[in-house]
Symmetry: C2
Subunit: 335 residues, 2 copies
Amino acid sequence: MGKKTGKQTYYFTNPPVIISTGTVAGPIEGQGPLQADFDEILTDPRNNEKTFEKAERSILTRACQLALDHASCPTGEVDLFLAGDLLNQIISSNFTAATLNIPFLGLYGACSTAALGLGLGAMLLDGGFAGTVLTATSSHNSTAERQYRFPTEYGAQRRPYQQWTVTGAGAALLGYDRPGPKITAVTFGRVVDLGSTDPLNMGAAMAPAAADTIRQHFEDTGWDPNVFDLIVTGDLGKIGFELCREELAESGLKLGDNFSDCGIMIYDLDKQDVHAGGSGCAASALVTYGHLYKRFQRQEIHRILLVGTGSLHSTTSVQQGDNIPCVAHAIRIEA
Amino acid sequence: MGKKTGKQTYYFTNPPVIISTGTVAGPIEGQGPLQADFDEILTDPRNNEKTFEKAERSILTRACQLALDHASCPTGEVDLFLAGDLLNQIISSNFTAATLNIPFLGLYGACSTAALGLGLGAMLLDGGFAGTVLTATSSHNSTAERQYRFPTEYGAQRRPYQQWTVTGAGAALLGYDRPGPKITAVTFGRVVDLGSTDPLNMGAAMAPAAADTIRQHFEDTGWDPNVFDLIVTGDLGKIGFELCREELAESGLKLGDNFSDCGIMIYDLDKQDVHAGGSGCAASALVTYGHLYKRFQRQEIHRILLVGTGSLHSTTSVQQGDNIPCVAHAIRIEA
């Protein structure tokens, strides 16, 4: 049974365990600093499929299979599958769900999907509605870029503040009675719209939503941010991350060296040509389910706050002159 | 706390109540047989907005406000907002969430969204994660048609088996300690892909998913279909509905006169030029939150099974030659 504390935060009576994870990273992500912590790395971004969209769903399905295999869990034992992605009508997730044959709840949270799936999955487990939940998400540079901006084949010049959509997929199997880090609290965010209108600068658009949820989490729990080994936003990138840090500091919450961003961590920003860092659902999924999950296993970290961030615009809303509404969800994970 | 029965069905320890609803119907829906049961009817499909997309979100926001007003519930008392729609990146829901300022979980289930929101909302309430949940969805003929098919301004000739995307929005406020029909069981569906490829014949594509979930619900519960005043699919339309009935009969489940479809009920198929009937998220939302909710209030019905149906394709997946995967979620509602 859940217990709400403060305005937006929930504790669990019986905190669900992240039993296993599965990750597949794209070629560029596989050359980055976290390469050793991904299960599989693509050599071909098309993964032997005819289209990039089919490639994206193939790696999402593969990540799910890896998570299931790592726990020796047959699909028939999974009660619910929660997934979403960036593509219109979340087709990567829908087609993966058709393969898995597990009752499916489709999510849309843009790049906050990993956090949304973890939080919702944990609630359904703690609420007694499932014994095992699989949650997953993906993004692909060539599918997202052509849907939101330009086909990558055009070779369009990118602005220095733009982020690089991460190619990859991550899945996590949640349940009980197995070892693993636990999901102990969740803060679901409100949609924040501070008037940002540039879809090429999503980090700046998402920063206020991230700050809002982080502030709310600490207000609701009364915890000291220093008890966390890591407070990690989803994919703000260099510019959005600094804006978020500044906004938090201005409101009296000064975060220290334990504050970072998956979009910054996943690449070597000095050597890899990714401008402001990574974005896309796979940014936080690869970092959390790959790198951070393995750090938990190696007992290098014991308590983190994952703050998934999502930019909730579409090309149509941008073309019609709308602002970019954003959201962030915070998930506390403890050894 | 939830209790799973059979493979895919959940019962509630403390069944949540549908405290209030809010509905806004489009002009054509407002001329149909259920007009008296909608809260508001648009005279202008653009609802004084500059674009159809802005009109869609305006009626979604209005439906939410109506549901809150009918229960005299300020937004500050709602714990979670669950919503989704057909537009790319569910922008109608995102912008409505930005207005409401309630922690937001974005859903994607295509036309099954009303059922998905009801089922998930009920689980979060029964699991102790919320005292009050608002769930809503919308569709708009002119936004969906131009996104999925042709802009309505083209006046493209429609095929006789096509359905008409319903313009409308519906919202439901779920909670406790108030009178109203209760959500007593939920069967979440698997994604079914039987090889259908025609996106103009979505009823036929969705029929097997609807049949799968209905069959599973009765297998899981062991109930007799005749105890329901109504077993109502989301938006199969005339053709999909007959296919679903046939498929169920072939597998030994003969449904009688209490079996119907929201897409058929919402229009007068003899007089209104909507071909095979209604489709879109608003089809089941308007019928359930408008017509059926009021029938519960008038004590004309006491037990229904809503089977929301969703076609999970995108224009990209269709263009790439993919099949159309579909899903259906069943929600038992009892007085």
